[in-house]
């Protein structure tokens, strides 16, 4: 049986390095503010969130029919549809397709599902060279690290880190930290692989049942190049990514980039409905625990996730500890509620990497009750005796808060100013195992109520629609 991931201990290394910690915190908070500004520009924002949630709940509650509809439409379009029960089956299908194509090089765009399936090591052991073509993902691949963030995999690295890494791997100038130069180094080194690879691979943000199409959103254009340049396009997608119609897809496209980065849309928002003449397109529908999660009464809503990372950008624990500390494919608040469905013991401590402030729920574009699910997982861990004594104590405190509506209301209506400083008083206290490696700042002695009374005037002046 695997050991449980100790997020607090893992965060220690990241926290010890104040340069990276402060930078990541500022960067992600800026992203959260850009998301707020983008949402304010859309008068129907809250209507879109409600629609997105309802469409996802409708689709997931009729998932078997929509999967069959997608399969029929995609097949009619000339796409070959595969079904994978688990990661191994998925990886084997990909390998068999590559072997049949005699492809020893795979150009690949970012896909959290392939991270989840650990596809890269599987293929590398069998002699396939893989070039990740997303800039952030390639940086992480070259540094032999998993992604630290689901949208910006290398967001925790500084320009200095990347300049040093590229000089080691590509022979570029280690002193040149200009970002345009570094992106150019990546482009120059990746372009030959795009032109010579016999196979390309993408994930999918959405799958459209009505048309049998997959939809991919990127800023770099690397997914479009991976899918269009070689003569074989393999797309791996989780079965929960389905939407019923093109009309419903529009709702999610309006929400996705705004929630992720504050942009109105990604530069490349691409629909692949079938192969071009003389080429092949394969879609692998992957379960890997999703159908089981669909049956979890308290937790199936996490399947609504569209992977925008807004919950991570707003989370005070994530911002201060970095994505790698979670030791998991999906990190931050959404990771906390997804990972235990894969392996409960290994991820039994993740639900404690949260202040339960509710901000994640407030920014979620598909209205997943993230913080309530985090609390639910704490209860499950306690029932299963998966947690240490100190965390049980922390949970009792949380339980007190959640059982008093007035207190809970305060906790979940925390506004921007509160959230920005939240870790300093709420995270690093003696009952929170996550903060145990940090010196407790003076503010930690202040109670939430005292802090709130002191700051409520300021926060009330803020125009934070979602709080």
């Amino acid at each position: 049986m695997s050991h449980s991931i100790d997020q607090a201990k893992n965060a220690e290394k990241f926290l010890a390095d104040t340069v990276h910690e402060e930078r990541l915190d500022k960067l992600l908070w800026a992203m959260r503010l850009r998301r707020d500004a983008a949402a304010r520009q859309v008068p129907e924002w809250e209507d879109l969130r409600t629609l997105a949630s309802e469409i996802k709940e409708h689709t997931l509650s009729n998932l078997s029919d929509y999967l069959i509809q997608f399969e029929a439409k995609a097949t009619a379009n000339g796409v070959i549809v595969h079904w994978a029960r688990d990661a191994h089956e998925h990886n084997q299908i990909v390998y068999d397709l590559l072997a049949e194509q005699k492809a020893d090089l795979l150009v690949k765009s970012k896909s959290m599902l392939t991270e989840e399936c650990e596809l890269r090591p599987f293929l590398e052991r069998r002699g396939i060279r893989i070039t990740e073509t997303d800039l952030g993902e390639r940086i992480q691949q070259l540094d032999d690290q998993p992604p630290g963030h689901i949208v910006g995999p290398a967001i925790h690295k500084t320009t200095h880190d990347v300049a040093v890494l590229f000089s080691e791997k590509y022979g570029s100038d280690p002193k040149n930290e200009d970002v345009a130069y570094l992106a150019g180094v990546m482009r120059d080194n990746t372009r030959p692989d795009f032109l010579t690879a016999r196979a390309g691979m993408t994930g999918a943000n959405f799958v459209v049942a009505e048309t049998g199409a997959i939809v991919v959103a990127t800023n770099e254009g690397n997914a479009d190049l991976s899918a269009n340049t070689p003569e074989l396009h393999i797309c791996s997608v989780g079965i929960e990514k389905i939407v019923p119609t093109v009309e419903s897809l529009a709702v999610f496209i309006r929400l996705l980039a705004r929630s992720a980065t504050g942009d109105t849309i990604t530069q490349y928002t691409s629909t692949f409905r079938g192969p071009r003449k003389g080429a092949a397109m394969h879609v692998i529908l992957v379960d890997n625990g999703r159908s089981a999660r669909l049956g979890m009464k308290r937790f199936w809503h996490s399947l609504k996730c569209i992977r925008c990372a807004a919950c991570m950008n707003t989370c005070p624990v994530y911002r201060r500890s970095g994505g790698l500390s979670y030791g998991s494919t999906y990190m931050g608040p959404i990771g906390i509620i997804m990972m235990p469905t894969f392996e409960i013991r290994k991820y039994s401590e993740l639900p404690f990497a949260s202040t339960l402030n509710g901000s994640c729920t407030n920014v979620c574009p598909v209205k997943i009750d993230i913080h309530e699910q985090i609390y639910g997982w704490r209860e499950v861990m306690e029932e299963n005796d998966q947690i240490q004594v100190v965390k049980k104590e922390a949970m009792r405190v949380a339980d007190d808060v959640l059982s008093h509506p007035a207190l809970y209301q305060i906790a979940t209506t925390t506004l921007s100013a509160a959230l920005e400083v939240l870790p300093h008083f709420a995270v690093y206290n003696r009952l929170n195992a996550w903060g145990r490696h940090r010196d407790v700042p003076n503010a930690a002695r202040e109670t939430f109520h005292a802090w709130y009374r002191k700051h409520r005037t300021v926060t009330n002046e803020n125009d934070e629609r979602e709080s």
Binding site: S64, N228, S248, I265
Partner: protein, 211 residues
Amino acid sequence: MHPTQALSRNTILEAVRANQPAAQPMPTIPHFHTHQPADLVSIFRESIARMAGVVVTDVVNGDVPDLGSFLRNKFPDAKVICSAIPEYAGTIRPASFNHWSEASTIDVCILRSPMGVAETGSILLSDVELQVNTIALLAHDLVVLLDPKQIVANIHDAYEHPHFKLRPYSLLMTGPSGSGDIGGIVVHPAQGAKTLTVLLSPAPDTGQRTG
């Protein structure tokens, strides 16, 4: 279907059927039209400007009297100009590429889009307009003609375009290729085109959708 695949398919579908929650209704999706049609061109200009590196030049008002001289002035070093529009020959046509990777030789690619989206500043391109999909992806600079009459209000309207139900490949492109993956600083290009220039120019067939 291979027996293993049939087993996997049935196992997944049975598990989904057994576990999916009670059926919930599909909501009605409005189009949320908040802008008057008269505003669409100016909203499109503002939206596309937000996605850095994009210039909109107005053929309608005579800013570009001649496409050839415009391209020569804007891209004086360009040697390979791939044209996918009938009214301008360029130096090469998409049909000339035997393998789609050969499009990497293109300096400037000129195309016509059948639709723009005011809300986002996006232009639609599909395999119909591209003929060879990679010409818009591997070219260094993109110039796209767009009839101002073919700008729709928002993404809800955009997804009504028939391309999304009929074409193998449909791309909503919004600005040039970019990345914010290093230090959160956005730079252009990443893997795709370095610049995207949209020329507002009436379609030869006077405003009919070309899709």
